[in-house]
Symmetry: C2
Subunit: 449 residues, 2 copies
């Protein structure tokens, strides 16, 4: 445990020196252990494990019809993302790991106690066993705090879900070198730092976003008071039945047709410079990397990764309604998600993709977010997406408070919800996308700077 965060930073810097990693981009055709099928071009590992890169043909219709093709990561197996919780002197702490991932822009980030694909669990790569995994597999001794299948980046993954678990134990837990205990207020403070809490940590912590961290400032005027009421109070602009109905209605309005196609038949994309790239250099590229590491189960390996072309924007517009903070949530068609539509942040896009388009074709509310005055921005931090699959994938996460001149009337694919309502949806899975869950975690653990 750390008595203050400077101790943590010292420890983390030390870890960075201990756990070295060298990542080099290499051409896709030099991916030892991986091969493109001669017929389809689909990229697979020689064991059949991990994941594959395939092609997807998508047609979606809501108000208009859109159709496109793209490469997609296929990883149907479910892994486990688990955080172990233990109280010290009555204060709950989470066991997090300083973990190197090849896609991390800064090497080391804080990951959950356990971040294991099914391939990890079944030892497909003959590496070391996953520490602490026994706390998350039956029969367990601890108390389960949350346990639900959640989707991951549905623009890049087809039907990928991981089991998100938090388990509390009361027994002594040996702490390995790369691991540390952090309290929720400490985690909350560290979330303001860029590229530190990795995606897996953020999504698992969403399961605890409804926890009462401290006595909130209940005054009518403060932002913090409105946020505390949003997390705890039972009042909201729309009832749960109304929000569920809005969500069902949105699912009925759209149709999403997805069809697997060979990777070498994906229109609009081509092999260039050893990678698979979009012909207009938009979206992302499929690249190869060579990784040398002394901290992972396997010391050296090569793998394909997705490298986004630009930094994304993920933002919730928020508004005080009758003193309770409400978030503007979007029912968003999610290419790879199990049910096609999930609840997403108000804005979620790569602005670069829209730079040359007229305002009418830019994503709704993007300009409200980018043009927000400094004193309206309640949270603003750049975080990384899953560094095991995505190379230098960063998003700017924002919380922007709108004024009285905005809403509450909004377009039909949007609605206002409270934090309490979102934390309820998170429990049941298949409702919030991973981007919304990340922001929910920031909100749930929000402390004033």
């Amino acid at each position: 445990m750390f008595t203050d965060l400077s101790e943590f930073h010292e420890w983390f810097a030390h870890r960075g020196r201990e756990q070295r990693q060298r990542v080099t981009k290499i051409p896709l055709d030099e991916l030892e252990g991986w091969a493109a099928d001669p017929l389809t071009g689909n990229i697979a590992h020689h064991t059949g494990g991990f994941f594959t890169v395939e092609g997807l043909d998508v047609t979606r219709s809501g108000r208009g019809v859109e159709a496109w093709q793209q490469p997609i990561l296929v990883q149907p197996e479910q892994g486990v993302l688990g955080i172990l919780v233990r109280e010290f002197d009555g204060v709950p702490h989470c066991l997090l790991q300083a973990k190197m991932e090849p896609g991390n822009v800064n090497g080391l980030q804080l990951s959950p106690t356990v971040q294991a694909t099914r391939s990890n669990i079944s030892q497909i790569h003959g590496g070391r066993t996953v520490p602490y995994l026994r706390y998350f597999t039956a029969p367990r001794k601890g108390l389960v705090l949350s346990d639900v299948l959640q989707s991951e980046q549905a623009s890049w993954f087809l039907a990928k879900r991981n089991r998100n678990m938090m388990v509390r134990v009361d027994e002594d837990v040996p702490v390995l070198d790369e691991f540390c205990w952090l309290s929720f207020p400490q985690i909350s403070a560290l979330m303001r730092l860029p590229n530190l809490m990795n995606m897996d940590t953020r999504t698992v912590l969403a399961g605890a976003a409804g926890l009462r961290l401290s006595e909130g400032d209940g005054s009518e005027d403060s932002f913090r008071g409105a946020l505390t009421r949003s997390r705890e109070a039972d009042t909201s602009l729309h009832s749960m039945v109304e929000v569920l109905s809005w969500f069902t209605e949105a699912k009925g309005r759209c149709t999403l047709t997805r069809r697997s196609i060979p990777l070498n038949k994906v229109g609009g994309w081509s092999h260039r410079d050893g990678a698979i790239k979009h012909d207009l250099d938009l979206h992302f590229s499929v690249i190869g990397v060579d990784v040398e590491s002394d901290s992972r189960e396997v010391a050296r390996w090569r793998q394909p990764m997705f490298e986004p072309r630009g930094q994304g924007i993920i933002a919730f517009l928020v508004k005080r309604i009758r003193g309770v903070l409400h978030l503007l949530v979007q029912a968003r068609i999610e290419t790879g998600a199990l049910d096609g539509v999930e609840m997403a942040p108000t804005v979620q896009c790569q602005p670069d993709n829209y730079r040359s388009l007229p305002p009418a074709r830019r994503p709704l509310f993007l300009d409200e977010v980018l043009g927000a005055p400094e004193d309206r921005i309640r949270f603003d931090s750049v975080h990384s997406e899953e560094g095991g699959r995505f190379y230098h994938a960063r998003n700017r996460y924002l919380m922007v408070e709108v004024g009285d001149d905005f809403g509450p009337d909004v377009p039909e694919d949007y609605t206002w919800v409270t934090l309490r309502q979102l934390t309820e949806f998170v429990r049941y899975g298949n409702h919030l996308n991973v981007e919304a869950r990340s922001l929910l975690t920031f909100f749930g653990f929000y402390e004033e700077e």
Copy 2:
């Protein structure tokens, strides 16, 4: 409105005389308007609408591995099942329809106010408009009481879901000839009669199973008291987090692989006597019917239907735990369900399929249900499944109370839940299968005989 149920029965008998229908089984190759694809044998309507009959290859593994092939109904579009609710003198009533369906063993049954496929809604068959539909499509004037996508028979349907809605209005509603208002206690009494409340009515009403119908008898000893506490009290053997974790764990334990195959390549099934039948005469047959009706949108048509080989058993074992009734729910691999696993009744099977098997291979708890003494059976009624797709498909729905010698320890795919917990799961969709929702409705509206 009916002052007593004899008035209802008189009205219903009158409707039976007014709405005549003649259904004749015909060979599949005489299905005018429908044709089998020469290459695949898949059966489709010439418009491309309604549904198709295709082949499915299934592999599932949990403790062991099972693999089989079967015909399956494919109907990816979502229809609307809606019940309109209005108070008369402070008493809520539901608007139900006396509706003829070709598969109904007795012709007429009580269906929801609206039972519309998307084909109905978009008028694909050029028939009459669906009455009352406007109450269920946006913009609506009424108050939405429940609104959620729910799965249907996953042994026979691939990924079929319908939108289940209840909408309350305060305005006058014209009542067409085939429609009537029934109060919840009246519906509750009518549920004890066989083959009257159709499947669609039962699943929609599951959205209201948590309603407080009347002051329960709170005495510790009575079954009714235990049931009322199960519906209303906040105490349960397992917390919601524990039940959700049990459900997530069960999903992780099994894998289900489904692959569409041509209907004419389905192994173990063959064309015989104008139908597609299982080679051992188990499960169901795909048959053709000719329908003449004067009450439907179209007066005469032909269509394929699924005809089960025998009557099924659908039962919950229930047990009083600390004075609160608990239901033994099963995490069941559901062939056609979106997420592969749903919560199902304790027992759900066609006993005929297992008659010749040794006891160890018979479904768990089937013998407890079939051998239950009379005084342990709390509910026992035969009901029909969806008469638009299934021909004479009937299931015996049972509620059997076990004694102190049973449980509470149960195998890992089973757990004890309260009615209150089940009604919570129903709100979010993708949790309870249609058979469990039917039984939940019977429990939710349970009154002593």
